[in-house]
Symmetry: C2
Subunit: 232 residues, 2 copies
């Protein structure tokens, strides 16, 4: 990777800068507990996932869509016999997720301070607008970003549009993220650069799809601060 | 209004370029019908509105938050006795809203063709990211916009941020929209220009707030195409 070419470094947010997926897993566990009288844990979570996938094109990513899918799944699994208390509890599970503090995954502030000036830093995050803005605000990191892009999808065309908007060439763009499917492969495919920092938990929807191939080289690092020696 | 100063015209989307509020009103009516065994129409809609307001800071604007508030309100109003069929129906009401075609409010295409070249045109819309992107896509208007900003709020600070991002001065910015509260007053207050095109239906949350004052002059027009003689 020719780091001298890089003008803009875009960071993914969820599970790259801060914890996210772990809260969805905790929520799924709580949901499965509520479903325990009707169905086993693994199966409940599978029905929930299939409802999430069914509505993803309409709901998009984020907590509200997840809440709507939990409500529907609870009706499905209980064959409509679920109690009002449990529906209220499902709504509370979602609102508690929204109210969680942000847990940064590394000393992000110091990393950004060392990069800023040398590179323009932006945030390129997929998800629900208000969820992502809320986390960004709570993170205290907003001041470091020259630009914040909340994207409804992270496919090749979405990155092409972003890079055009940033007024740079693809090879001047470096994406740093935890998802091969959303952060790395589409960026490499359009001629951009990428650094993959895997996270211990990955949502099954974010696993690499059949036919998605890595066609260029990229760095894989253990933790966010490892980008500093690469970019120096 | 000195139109020679204007560099960028930002259009609000919902109820400025296309119908929106009417679909929420239709959905509220359908919701109230489902609640009819428990409560009168007006009162049901009031309980729904109060739940929407209670969660607005967490859910933000858009159909998914509206759906979640309908589910909760149905539990509240029925004291938890609502049938599964009605909960499914409530979810369907929301998804049908998402699947509606876009109804443009005027010959927007032709209006944009006459403005583009002379001004840069952007979209500045408040709401849920995927809702707004879906409507923009269906509208066929995307190609006209130099920039699309989906905002979680439209307060003075949000406009300041947008105008900084656009790299212009406030007096070079013209906002066109139907909401005095969200499109006109905050823009005038930061030194921008505004054209108000009232829509027949306005959500009560979008009414001017106590203490919000109009401190500068603006145009009020009957329909979108009336902006052409003003801007010529």
């Amino acid at each position: 990777m020719d780091t001298k070419e890089i003008k803009i470094i875009a960071f993914d947010a969820d599970d790259t800068l801060w914890q996210n997926e772990v809260f969805f897993r905790e929520a799924e566990d709580k949901f499965a507990e509520l479903m325990a009288p009707y169905m086993g844990k693994e199966q409940s979570i599978n029905v929930l996932f299939s409802n999430e996938m069914k509505h993803l094109h309409l709901y998009g990513y984020g907590i509200k869509g997840f809440m709507l899918s939990m409500v529907e799944t609870a009706m499905d699994i209980s064959k409509g016999t679920i109690s009002a208390e449990k529906i209220y509890e499902i709504l509370e599970i979602g609102r508690r997720m929204m109210n969680k503090p942000v847990e940064l995954l590394d000393d992000v502030e110091s990393i950004f301070n060392q990069l800023n000036g040398k590179y323009r830093i932006i945030l390129a995050t997929k998800g629900d607008l208000i969820d992502q803005e809320r986390k960004l605000y709570k993170s205290g990191l907003e001041k470091h970003f020259h630009h914040v892009e909340v994207m409804s999808e992270k496919k090749e065309e979405d990155y092409r549009k972003l890079i055009r908007h940033l007024d740079i060439e693809p090879h001047e763009f470096l994406m740093v993220g935890n998802s091969m499917k959303s952060d790395i492969i589409p960026v490499l495919n359009i001629g951009g650069k990428a650094i993959h920092i895997p996270h211990e938990i990955t949502w099954q929807h974010e696993l690499v799809e059949d036919g998605q191939e890595v066609k260029a080289s990229y760095h894989q690092l253990d933790r966010l601060s490892d980008i500093l020696p690469v970019l120096r």
